[in-house]
């Protein structure tokens, strides 16, 4: 079976590595790490992920901006984006994550199981592309 491709964008190297290790050891996913918002777009174009995990607060480029540029790219706008961020309280995020403008917010720190749940849920949803 083809592995699902996940692009994880976070300025924390440790975090992206952890995510890749955890996801890849399931054998289901193939994960690409990006630690700079600027290169996220380029990598997305080449890697063509099925889903992008996006940190919000990044020094060079805001997660929101990254998401906006992704939206503007016709080739990428259909890819679902999950925001994974430290600035949101878990409660606000809710057990189902908070949906803001259609995007899913996950609060750090997050457990692997919850991550996988969120990924599968997003992949299963039809992408409205809004």
């Amino acid at each position: 079976m083809e592995k699902k491709r996940i692009l994880v964008v976070d300025d924390e190297v440790g975090f992206t590595r952890m995510v890749r290790l955890n996801l890849e050891q399931t054998g289901v996913y193939e994960v690409r790490e990006v630690n700079e918002g600027k290169s996220a777009l380029a990598t997305a174009r080449t890697f063509k992920p099925d889903l992008i995990l996006l940190d919000v607060v990044m020094p060079d480029m805001d997660g929101g901006d990254v998401a906006a540029s992704i939206q503007q790219d016709p080739l990428l706008k259909k890819i679902p984006v999950i925001f994974v961020t430290a600035v949101v309280r878990k409660r606000e995020a809710g057990s189902a994550g908070m949906v803001s403008g259609g995007a899913l917010f996950l609060a750090k720190p997050i457990g692997v199981m919850e991550l996988i749940e969120a990924i599968e849920s997003s992949l299963g949803k039809p992408n409205t592309g809004s």
Partner: protein
């Protein structure tokens, strides 16, 4: 009996003899004999007793008598009558004896015969008469002599050759202490005087006897019978008989005791005088009639530069008095000393000089006493003194006196001296002017009663008496007094008793300074200060006014003060406040004033109001524009004055005064009043400004407080924002590593593949830790949650139910009963439901956690009005709490039946990170956040222990 007639009485019993005699006598020519004849002795005696008989012819042989006895009886009966005795020839002896006894003659009867006999008889009679006469005369003379020597005051005595007293006069006898001189006769001096003295006398007398020398006027000191010492002047002379033989010594002693004593006294006095003369500093000299010096005392001679002897004999005037003080010659005729000896006029001169030996002169005072003896001028005695020093002293005294006089006359103070009766003795010009006198004569001798009003004079007198009585001076006594002119003055009086050198008080010295101006200025200043102080301290005009009136009245001595305020609508002045001096009955006047409304220009206040200037009426009875004059006069008030209270041009009011004394306008006072009037005006303005200021201040304060509250809130907000940002930052920074750790742990656990229980446990513990850390970080974020409340009308009951449902698991697990005590109707509330839910959740969670073994959770809601105690209860609440006492609030109470909270921890429950839960359970941030949220709603939350056990959380929310 006719002159020349000889009265004869013949006592003869013999008829024949009687006839013979009768015949003879009647026949005798030339000498008329008046014969009477009796024949018996007793008849004869009887006849003699009738007197007038010159001769008695007595027959010794009478029948009723015998011999000499007959004669004695006749002689006794007629001592002044000559007796011729007739005898018979054989009785001659008897006749002779009769003659011895005092008969003049005897005749033998036988012889009386014939013409020869007749001759014999007549002759015998005549001779007898004459002899008798002569004897009488002699006896008379002797008696006279006796009387003389007896009445002579001197001692007269006659001594014999043996110095025995032959005769002494009465005075001598008395001297010896004998009444009768006969008692002394035969005695001698030795019987009466001390032996020595008597011996001395005897010796003297012997000398007198022997020599022909008489002892004349010798002084002797004797003692009389009474022991008194007497001085006598003795003269002793020989007494010779006709043959020149010294038969006796006649002595005369004159008692010269007094004279002697006087002489001794005189001598003594003279001696004293001499001594005095010599020891005195006064110069003495005597002048004779020619003006020559008869004597001069040492002092006098010395003063003149001479030896006494050099002056004696010299002409006084030429020697020491020849020139006047200006060196011009001084004629003798004009010299008073010379006058004394010329006219007997005494003189006392102190304006001339005397010239010394060396040609210098000195001023002298001399007195010339003429000396007279028996009316004749014998000379003069002159006493003199060198008056140089005295002159100098007098001049010094004079100049000092003049200086003093000038001094006291130039001083403005009233200076005077009075005697003990209060009469003026001395005063200065200033005093005279004060009492209205022009010369000293108008004052001296008078008393204060003559110048001052009775009450004032009485006071002066009382003061004088006190000072003279106690001897203590009255120094600088400040007093009010009325001048003779009736003016009111302030003076400083000093009175000092006047003493003689002996210390006795003879009067009083008084110095009075007029300090009226000074005092008045002082009073004005004090008054102004008082007013200023009142204005500074009084919070309002209302409170200031009585004090101002009082200060002005008391300070300046006015009796009544009034404040008038204009009523602009009615255009009248009305009296707002009055003040009067205590003790005065001014009730009627006060009442009349209270009812008075004055139009502009009417009365003193009206005048002041319309003119905006002070008005002064010295005597209201003379003023036509004084409506209250009647009442004023009745109350004894005479003088009225008013001044305006001004602010700029506007007259805000009038202050007026009345006084019982008439006072003349005083420029100084008017100035002061004007100043005070402005001062009060400014005060009013200031008070008004203060009011405005106060209101503004109140507004500002209010605004300030609101600002502060807002600022606090803002600060809070900013703080929270900072904290929020910080928290956000921290959260972010912490959460990322946490995320990695979590991921790592998950990965590690996935590698475990079921074995390694220890490792698994470790990893699980780590996971727990991660979770806790995450919760804390989340709690931090909660704490600094977005400050915006999203207020919506909410139903607290709904929120509470929602929380209950969320906690259903917890309540059932802990076996906690839930009791609802919800109000039926609550006022509408605007809340942020999400946040409030968080609060309720937190509270209820705490309550449940407090009852791990079960209990009852009670939820209660109701509405009530807030009391002050509710509002003040939250000490930790920051500004932003808007609950006020009286507000309507909704109360939510959550009670539990747990163990409660320890008292010492109650205050800290809301502190961040405070928790009573064991470590690992609870972040300690729940209540902090909850309170934050409640406060943001403008409510309060507090926790207390319940008396029944357990705790209660009370939330008050503004409805």
């Amino acid at each position: 009996m006719s002159e020349g007639q000889i009265k004869v009485l013949h006592i003869e019993d013999d008829r024949v003899s009687a006839d013979v005699v009768k015949g003879m006598l009647s026949a005798t020519p030339g000498v008329p004999f008046d014969l009477e004849c009796v024949d018996r002795l007793d008849k004869g005696l009887e006849r003699l007793a009738r007197g007038g008989v010159d001769v008695v012819l007595l027959d010794l042989g009478l029948p009723d008598s015998r011999g000499l006895d007959t004669f004695n009886r006749v002689q006794a009966a007629a001592s002044q009558t000559a007796i011729i005795v007739f005898t018979s020839t054989d009785d001659e002896e008897l006749a002779i004896r009769a003659v011895h006894e005092g008969a003049q003659d005897y005749l033998s009867k036988g012889l009386i015969q014939g013409p020869a006999g007749r001759l014999l008889l007549t002759r015998a009679i005549r001779y007898a008469v004459e002899r008798r006469h002569a004897q009488e005369t002699l006896a008379e003379e002797r008696r006279l002599l006796r009387n003389l020597i007896d009445s002579f005051p001197d001692h007269i005595y006659v001594k014999d050759a043996e110095s025995r007293f032959l005769m002494v006069n009465k005075v001598t006898a008395r001297f010896f202490g004998k009444e009768n001189p006969e008692e002394v006769v035969g005695k001698s001096d030795f019987d009466f005087f001390p032996h020595g003295l008597a011996m001395q006398f005897r010796t003297e007398e012997q000398a007198v006897f022997r020599s022909a020398e008489s002892l004349v006027n010798r002084e002797a000191a004797v003692t009389d019978s009474k022991g008194r010492a007497r001085w006598v002047l003795t003269t002793k002379v020989q007494l010779r008989d006709n043959h020149g033989r010294v038969v006796a010594l006649l002595g005369v002693n004159r008692d010269i005791t007094e004279i002697k004593e006087a002489e001794m006294e005189r001598t003594r006095l003279a001696g004293n005088l001499r001594l005095m003369l010599e020891s005195t500093a006064v110069g003495f000299f005597g002048m004779d009639r020619a003006g020559r010096c008869t004597f001069v005392n040492k002092a006098g001679a010395r003063m003149l530069g001479y030896e006494p002897m050099e002056l004696e004999g010299k002409n006084i005037h030429q020697t020491i008095h020849h020139k006047r003080s200006d060196n011009t010659p001084y004629p003798t005729e004009e010299c008073p000393m010379t006058k004394a000896i010329r006219t007997g006029e005494g003189a006392d001169v102190d304006t001339e000089v005397l010239w010394r030996r060396d040609g210098t002169a000195f001023p002298a005072e001399y007195t010339a006493f003429p000396v007279k003896e028996s009316g004749e001028i014998q000379g003069a005695v002159v006493t003199f003194l060198d008056t140089t020093q005295r002159r100098a002293a007098e001049m010094a005294l004079d100049s000092e006196r003049n200086l003093l006089r000038a001094l006291i006359d130039n001083l403005p103070d009233y200076i005077l001296v009075k005697d003990t009766q209060g009469r003026y003795l001395v005063d200065n010009i200033a005093h005279r002017q004060f009492v209205g006198a022009k010369t000293a004569e108008e004052v001296v001798g008078k008393t204060p009663e003559d110048f001052f009003p009775p009450a004032e004079a009485a006071r002066i007198r009382a003061e004088d008496i006190e000072v003279m009585r106690t001897g203590e001076p009255m120094l600088n006594s400040e007093e009010a007094m009325t001048s003779p002119g009736g003016r009111r003055l302030w003076v400083w009086k000093t009175k000092v008793p006047l003493r003689e050198p002996s210390g006795a008080i003879t009067g009083i010295v008084a110095i009075t300074s007029d300090v009226t101006e000074h005092k008045e200025a002082e009073q004005r200043l004090a008054t102004q200060h008082a007013v200023t102080r009142v204005l500074a301290e009084a919070p309002s005009l209302d409170e200031a006014t009585p004090k101002i009136l009082q200060a002005l009245c008391e300070g300046l001595g006015w009796d009544f003060g009034e404040l008038w305020i204009p009523d602009w609508h009615q255009n009248v002045l009305h009296c707002m406040k009055t003040w009067h001096a205590p003790g005065l009955d001014l009730h009627e006047f006060e009442t009349s004033i209270a009812e008075t409304f004055l139009s502009p220009g009417v009365g003193v206040p009206g005048r002041v109001w319309s003119s905006a200037k002070p008005a002064w009426i010295p005597d209201v009875t003379h003023d036509s524009n004084f409506p209250g004059a009647r009442f004023a006069v009745k109350a004894g008030l005479r003088c009225a004055l008013g001044f305006p209270v001004v602010l700029g041009q506007l007259v805000l009011g009038v202050i007026a005064f009345c006084s019982r004394e008439i006072r003349e306008p005083d420029e100084h006072l008017l100035q002061m009043f004007t100043a005070i009037g402005s001062q009060i005006g400014q005060f009013i303005e200031r008070k008004q400004a203060e009011e405005r200021l106060k209101r503004t201040l109140a507004d500002l304060t209010h605004a300030h407080e609101e600002l502060k509250a807002a600022q606090s809130q803002l600060v809070e907000v900013e703080k929270m924002e900072t904290v929020g940002r910080l928290a956000a930052g921290v959260a972010h920074e912490v959460k990322n590593p946490l995320a990695i750790i979590r991921m790592g742990v998950d990965f590690a656990m996935s590698q475990l593949k079921g074995q390694d229980g220890d490792l698994k446990q470790v990893l699980e513990d780590v996971n727990g830790a991660i979770q806790r850390a995450t919760n804390i970080v989340n709690g931090l974020l909660d704490l600094s949650a977005a400050q915006e409340l999203v207020l919506k009308p909410s139903d607290p009951h709904a929120l509470l139910e929602q929380c209950l449902s969320m906690l259903r698991h917890a309540t059932s697990t802990s076996h906690v009963q839930v009791v609802r005590e919800f109000a039926e109707k609550l006022p509408p509330l605007k809340l942020d439901p999400q946040k409030m839910e968080q609060v309720f959740l937190n509270i209820m969670l705490n309550a449940i956690h407090a009852m791990p073994d079960g209990g009852t959770l009670t939820l209660r809601t109701y509405a009530r009005r807030l009391k002050p105690v509710d509002v003040n209860r939250d000490p930790g609440s920051r500004s932003g709490v808007r609950l006020r006492s009286g507000d309507m609030a909704v109360v939510v109470e959550v009670d539990d039946t747990g163990i409660g909270i320890p008292e010492d921890k109650l205050a800290k429950v809301f502190d961040p990170f405070f928790t009573t839960k064991p470590t690992g359970k609870g972040t300690g941030l729940g209540l902090t956040v909850s309170r934050r949220i409640v406060n943001m709603h403008g409510g309060t939350i507090h926790i207390q222990n319940r008396s029944e056990g357990g705790a209660r959380a009370t939330i008050l929310l503004k409805a």
